[in-house]
Amino acid sequence: MFQIEFGENDDKVVGIDLGTTNSLVAWMNLTKPEVLPGEDGDKLVPSVVSLTTDGAIIAGNAARKELIDHPDRTIYSVKRLMGRGVADVQDELKLFPFRIAEGSDSVIQVRLGERTFTPPEVSAFVLKQLKKNAEAALGAPVTKAVITVPAYFNDAQRQATRDAGRIAGLEVLRLVNEPTAAALAYGLDKRKEGIIAVYDLGGGTFDISILRLHDGIFEVLATNGDTHLGGDDIDNRLMRIALEDIQSEWKEDISHSGEAVQTLRRDVIAAKEALSFAPVVHLKFSWNGKSYDRELTRELFEGLIKDIVDRTLGPCRDCMKDAGVTPEQIDEVVMVGGSTRIPLVRSAVEVLFRARPHTELNPDEVVALGAAVQAGILSGTVENQLLLDVTPLSLGIEMYGGVVSKLIHRNSTIPASAGEVFTTGVDGQTNVLIHVLQGERELAKDCRSLARFDLKGIPPMPAGMARIEVRFLIDANGILSVTAKDARTGQEQSIEVKPSYGLTDEQVEAMIEASIEHAQEDLDAAQVAMARVDADGILAAVAKAQRDAAYDGLDGEERACIEAAIREVQAVYHSDDHEKIREKIDLLNEVTRGLAETMMNTAVRGALRGTHV
């Protein structure tokens, strides 16, 4: 009893922004969300992973250093590959030095040195680094997290993110959309009613969400975006110019040297960032004794990126239309993502929404802060706030002729569900194949294939007689699940799921096991630490109970029994065997059950009296 009551509250749920360029972890420090720095003091953990020459995996700042020395063993921007197939990412491959392994079909495999990894595994290394940072900063094990995703992520991309969390040893309590998280972070609930637009231009993705606020409830009205539009595209523009310049000045093509390209990219990003604060900067780059120096004016820069900024405006207008609001009705605009520091982006947003955007919070941190608030909502420490989010894309099934029949429309509040009855087309047919898609287009070939569900074991009968009720449910994470039952017998129908992109459950399990094998000692240590935290919890709770009137009501034997159990927990507390600690915790829990119930009943009676007065 005490274990349930007090033990679980000790679990800290962190909020994680798993970004294209950088990732952060935050938590609720009493009433305020706070980003947790790493051991190096940096709050931003670069989303970079590297396989060192001695076979160890490193992530974050350490890995970023390797980008220049070992570009073939290092990967960045892997978020662009999450939940996608090889055919989807051909455009990205022209711009990003991803090394896709041969034989990758529905799940991409990227090569780092001599090993290959799936994008969720790579992301898991970043998440593990964040988990480690959080555990060091909080001095307690961290096993539960809220992770943010771009609002416009589809089902496969969301599943891949959740898989990454599981592989990293995190229970992902909720995937929350980045722009909605940002709205939470701004504490706009202080305003009772109003309409908020969140403009989120990150490293690799663009999202726009429009929310209505009613007394602590954030209701997303509509969302739109582009999962392949962001600061990286701006960097690539500048890279192209610099590479051309260098080619003509030096008569040398450096684009084949990974090391040179990475160094140049670093310098280009530095120049871009400086341009947000100065009207003129110099892009300087040195390589093999040669140097390149180019003046960049903000004017030239703005001309160069104008069409990228303009590409964000269409989704903004569509989003307002879907939300049924006009620019005049929007009360507040929130800016998220590093790219919103660019003056041209700010002025474009200001013109479109006719409101000066909020920029008080650091646009790099605001999503992680919001994720921490959401973690607080889930763990009960943040009260009176609730997010009602929507699914960004319509869900449908393929019909005869390749036409898509929509079951759940985009911008539907989630959780959302839809039912559909299927039958057989041929006498004696025992299975029905259902192809589920996401997207707004009419034809299946133009939508995103999510999965094929095979309804199996239908009893043979004449065509059209079977009635299989299939229920599609999109949960609060925006992830689909499908259940089916035979309408005639009411029996659950077995379904075999073949995801079109991404990992099967078995593959994820295998990866989790592999990652556990690699880190058995870490895991043991974490389990011992967690067991001790639970021991602390129950010992404190029992100590408190011993001062309660109910304890005096126990007879001597009962009290002796509890005292003995306390001593047993204390005796094993410092051992390295987490199972032994758990065993003694359970024993103490067992012998105090009666006491806890008595106290609970008294408390409930007290509370009931309170409410009826």
Binding site: L173, S379, S412, I414, P415, L473
Partner: protein
């Protein structure tokens, strides 16, 4: 899945709903059922909250839109709301449709002279839809006052006509 949407909101079946009141009920029920606010409950309760929350959202989506609400009520009252029949389409519209199709053909062949005619047809269709919406509104009030199946039957006819007109409006939505 078979939950009654009206009962779910604590409402009597009705076609003219107070949307402010419906929204308030929706927000109150969201505070009760949303998975985020049930995250620390045992698995079975979490599961139930997810189900209830999905039904709540589905129900709200259906009841807040007058057309979806009417379709739902018709289905609930045992009406078959399948394919539209041409008997619900006013004859004067059929003539318009014939002319519209000709104009659209011409446009397809690159004759932009047809554009003003299409635009004019669009205006007329929009006006007819407004007219139908007015009639539907009156019938909603009529049904709420006395639950007569004849009224529902008339509503079904109006909904079919409305759908037919909406398809025409869609057709006239040609890029300039």
């Amino acid at each position: 899945m078979t939950a009654d949407y009206f009962a779910f909101f604590g409402l009597q079946p009705a076609l003219a709903l107070d949307l402010k009141d419906l929204e308030k009920r929706f927000l109150d029920l969201s505070r009760r059922y949303h998975p985020d606010l049930n995250a620390r409950k045992p698995a079975a309760e979490r599961e139930a909250a997810l189900e209830a929350s999905a039904i709540l959202n589905d129900a709200y989506r259906t009841l807040r839109e007058p057309i979806a609400r009417a379709m739902y009520l018709l289905k609930r009252e045992g009406f078959d709301i399948g394919e539209q029949t041409t008997k619900d389409v006013p004859p004067e519209l059929l003539e318009e449709v014939f002319e519209l199709n000709m104009a659209l053909e011409e446009l397809k062949d690159g004759d932009t002279d047809a554009l003003p005619q299409i635009a004019a047809a669009r205006e007329r269709f929009l006006a007819s839809r407004n007219e139908v919406d007015g009639e539907i509104g009156a019938k909603f009030a009529e049904w709420d006052a006395q639950h007569s199946r004849d009224t529902l039957s008339a509503i079904r006819g109006l909904l079919n006509r409305r759908k037919y007109i909406s398809n025409l409006i869609e057709k006239t939505n040609v890029p300039d």
